[in-house]
């Protein structure tokens, strides 16, 4: 019994050591790669190269702050002028959204961090309770009201305003294909 226990323990330790060394190697390689500004491509994190896939509809992983996904619209060869204008309009709306949410979420995270710091400063570094956080949530929501309302109105206008041009672009695509 004891020999079994020691054997499993030593095996576990060996596995842990192997894991530790491999993860250390991984972080070391990541650190080395971080010096360059090239995008990191590993087996798991494959990405299409946008430069070579300009004719495809590409969607990326969400932005860490805004949570929105970047979109690259397809640019066919000999893109007609209306299609180009529509594409650029879509890109402007995407940028508008990204702008707002990066701003908003950054403000939220900063304000929350400051609030937690203040609360912890007054109660001796204890974790902030949900009741206390509720005060922050209400405060943030109330302060952001007009900003959010303006954005929402603008977003509705843009979103619905894109429908007709999108329909026209779709009709152009179908008629040009047939």
């Amino acid at each position: 019994m004891n020999s079994l226990r020691t054997r499993t323990a030593t095996t576990a330790i060996r596995i842990c050591r192997r894991h530790a060394s491999s993860s250390a190697k991984a972080t070391a390689s990541k650190a080395a790669a971080s010096a360059s500004t090239e995008p990191l491509l590993t087996k798991k994190r494959e990405s299409l190269d946008p430069a070579q896939n300009k004719d495809k509809f590409l969607v990326g992983n969400p932005h860490p702050v805004s949570n929105l996904r970047p979109v690259l619209y397809p640019i066919p060869a000999n893109e007609p002028k209306e299609d180009r204008l529509f594409r650029e309009r879509c890109e402007r709306v995407d940028a508008f959204n990204q702008n707002f949410w990066v701003n908003n979420n950054a403000m939220f995270n900063k304000a929350k961090a400051e609030f937690e710091e203040k609360v912890r400063a007054t109660n001796g570094n204890q974790p902030v309770t949900t009741d206390e956080l509720s005060v922050f949530y209400k405060d943030f929501l109330d302060k952001a009201y007009e900003r959010q309302l303006n954005y929402n109105k603008q977003w509705w206008i843009e979103n619905i305003g894109l429908l007709l041009p999108a329909a026209k672009a779709a009709v152009r695509k179908w008629t040009s294909r047939s």
Binding site: K30, S34, T37, E38, L40, E46, S47, D49, A51, F57, L58, V59, G60, N61, H63, P64, V65, S66, N67, L68, R69, P70, V71, L72, E91, D94, F96, N97, Q98, N99, W101, V102, N103, N109, K110, A111, A113, E114, K118, V119, T122, D131, L133, S134, F136, Y137, K138, F140, L141, K143, E146, R147, L149, Y151, N152, Q154, W156, N159, L163, A166
Partner: protein, 478 residues
Amino acid sequence: MLHRVNPVISGARLIRSEGSRIHSRLSSSCTHSLHRLQNKSPLALLQGSSRGSGALRGSRVTFTRASFSSHNGSAAILPTEANNIFSRDNQDQDDSATNSSGTAGFFTTSSSASASSSLAPEGFRDYNIRWKEVKMPTLTGVVPIYMDLAKARLGALVTLTTMSGYAMTPAADDLSTLFSLTVGTALCITSANAYNQFVEPPYDAQMSRTRNRVLVRKAVSPLHAWSFATATGLGGIGILATMVNPLTAALGAANLVLYAAVYTPMKRMSIVNTWVGSVVGALPPMMGWAACTNSLGPEAWLLGLILYAWQFPHFNSLAWNLRADYSKAGYRMMSVTDPKLNARVSLRYSLALIPLVTLAPYLDMTTWWFAVDGNIVNAVMLAGAANFWRKRDDKSARQLFFGSLIYLPVVLALMMLHKKVKKAEDEAEANAAAALTSVVSTSSAVVEEDDDEYEYVDVDEDDDEEHHTSPTSVQKKL
């Protein structure tokens, strides 16, 4: 610290100028750690950037100056003073002078980005993007997308409440009407949910519950989703108008408009949206009742009121655990603005369910056994609501939410089980309607009864106890 009140600046310009400042600061610090962005929380990101670049502190920009004034020794615990970063006054006072970016790039990225990241859209050039191709959905691939747009599971539950409304009518015998009602209502609900998803992708992206929705992932184009919503909406209302009756179609259309055009924008304007949303939930069983009787009697209103009251413990407990997401994304919900009101309202309406359930036998919809059974179930939910009201924590909220999910089908099933019957044939119909999904043989279809017989038998059936024990024991006395 006083700031002069600015004239109203257009929303887009205002947001753009705000965002450009913080984003340029963020991006300059981000280039130093491009690869780390994916592992660090936005919080750490902000802390890192504020430590790293002194540009954020004491800068001329009003946005950041105010946020750090509290660091410099003001007494505010909360950012409630006038010189906080959220007040309207602080919006870019020198907006006209500095906003020279025009329509070209909103962001002045000072990063030495690689060639591929410069191809990224505006605003996305500060992190490592993994691009995937999204192809147009195939004919088979589009079906799960449509199910997602329709919120199929939720829609199925709402359709069941409609069918139960139909089943509670005295003459719930016409299967073709029931079928048309089901299909029409399902299409209307699908349309409402699809419109809702069409409007909300940037908000859905912010909340973990909704960030894998179809339009957030860009699996279909917004035009496609809107067309789907319009087609199903027109189809649903059309089916209801032609194959059921105009009243039901009008209720369906009203529900669709209420959900997509009133509730959805109101979510960002006022906490009253919860009450509007409860009306949206209350209409389907009334549609079911109207489908059979072509009228909205007091029984229909009672069904509607029961569903209306149920929405509050259901939604308020769900909204409790989403407070952080709602606050960040700008949703005005009671759980954020007034947590005590949130819990109180859910308790209030759980209490209101007691007289409502008791009213059902009084209106001759069910036997008095329903008042017994239904109130037992009410008491359980009331206990959950009282627990939530007292504790107001995540666990009690979750318990109340799951309790409400069980409550509704149980109470509707009890209602159908105890449905008050007038004759033996009616009773067979009631049992068949209670089955709902099973195929009913046409031999149980009932011939229309005369009014005389109806009243006569009604007088005889005072002994309600016999009904639910053995259906065949009811004797028809003529």
